[in-house]
Subunit: 128 residues, 4 copies
Amino acid sequence: MDRPSFDVSPYQRFLGLEWIRWEPGEVEIRLPFREEFLRADDSDWYHGGVVAALIDIAGDYALATRVGDGLPTVDLRVDWLRPARKGALLAVGRAVKVGRTVCTADVEVRDESGQLVAVGRGTFATPK
Amino acid sequence: MDRPSFDVSPYQRFLGLEWIRWEPGEVEIRLPFREEFLRADDSDWYHGGVVAALIDIAGDYALATRVGDGLPTVDLRVDWLRPARKGALLAVGRAVKVGRTVCTADVEVRDESGQLVAVGRGTFATPK
Amino acid sequence: MDRPSFDVSPYQRFLGLEWIRWEPGEVEIRLPFREEFLRADDSDWYHGGVVAALIDIAGDYALATRVGDGLPTVDLRVDWLRPARKGALLAVGRAVKVGRTVCTADVEVRDESGQLVAVGRGTFATPK
Amino acid sequence: MDRPSFDVSPYQRFLGLEWIRWEPGEVEIRLPFREEFLRADDSDWYHGGVVAALIDIAGDYALATRVGDGLPTVDLRVDWLRPARKGALLAVGRAVKVGRTVCTADVEVRDESGQLVAVGRGTFATPK
């Protein structure tokens, strides 16, 4: 599977995602900041839902590098470790297990200073 | 705590959320459909990240009815049970536990036909 | 599928589980107390790992009522809400979704006074 | 905090745990096999509940190295990746975040051949 384009997805276009790396079992995706991501008008913190979406996408693509297609997310756990502040975020997704029925991926999200702001782990359905 | 306004949050404004219910320990929130929520141009399914954000928000507000303030989300599990298709979504959040250190909330998301499309459960930090 | 016996499993025999209910989509299982379940010699609290095992088993059997066989657990989230003290525990497992690839179950664990002590939610692989 | 003894806990004595490593932010624990851990009389697979307990314990102690005391587990996700067969298991727990209110730990469980059989991630309450 070639590296897919974020341009074919309305929600990924809204997020404005950018590819950094697409390798077997591992991807890195950049999320540039935009004002709509803020949790409150008087805050410079990301809304957690934006970080969760980034994790879902990075986990999915990490597995897509291995199974050759996008995978429906079955379930996902997100841990928000520190506030993600204004500025780009970088998500690294890794394939943990590729099974016949389901796959597992891990994701780490860091801010521009390299600080870990969130981690995620999910189960995805392997395409037939 | 009075029912908060979605208008003070850039990301919640993007989502276009509407209040249905705000009661002690339980809230209901409506997410009207918009094209930016789609996962792909050739699909009528929501992107999972939008559903995750709705769950995070509904769980948080269910607890805010009890603790009188918004709570930082510590971690969240989302299970996507069926595709959420074009059309509004309804999220019901319930406080499961209100503790001195952390709180727990459950959320169910249904489509307009009443079909359960996703569930979520999360831990939130109790404000001091 | 008839209600299975706990007697064919070494670990379930150690736990000493008892059937309360076996219905389509819902089961109830009783865990009588034994001293080996304690977390510390000077405590009357259950070790969390015993509660997690009870949740795993109740979720699995809730789905087995529907799919006619035991299901491998893919992943499980457990939330410990309150200390579970000496005395029997009761777990109610419910099938949330039965899919072709994976199933989802919810479990609530209460003590003898009816107090909710833990909840769990898991994904299980549907037998072929 | 010195390395604690497994001997003061009835459930940890049942498990028969052994210390391999106790370092700041990281621990390694060995679980020798015993027949009571099997999921079925005609199987050589561990019951998942035993693996979940090992993960809970390794995550807790990884954080205890940093906060100087055991921590109540708030919630835990376990992903069973492959069957764990007869033989010892090794769990490595790592502190991911040590916060004022809550802490996060990751755990990997391998069999004697080094194969990854399960992973876990949990939130624990920081002692006051």
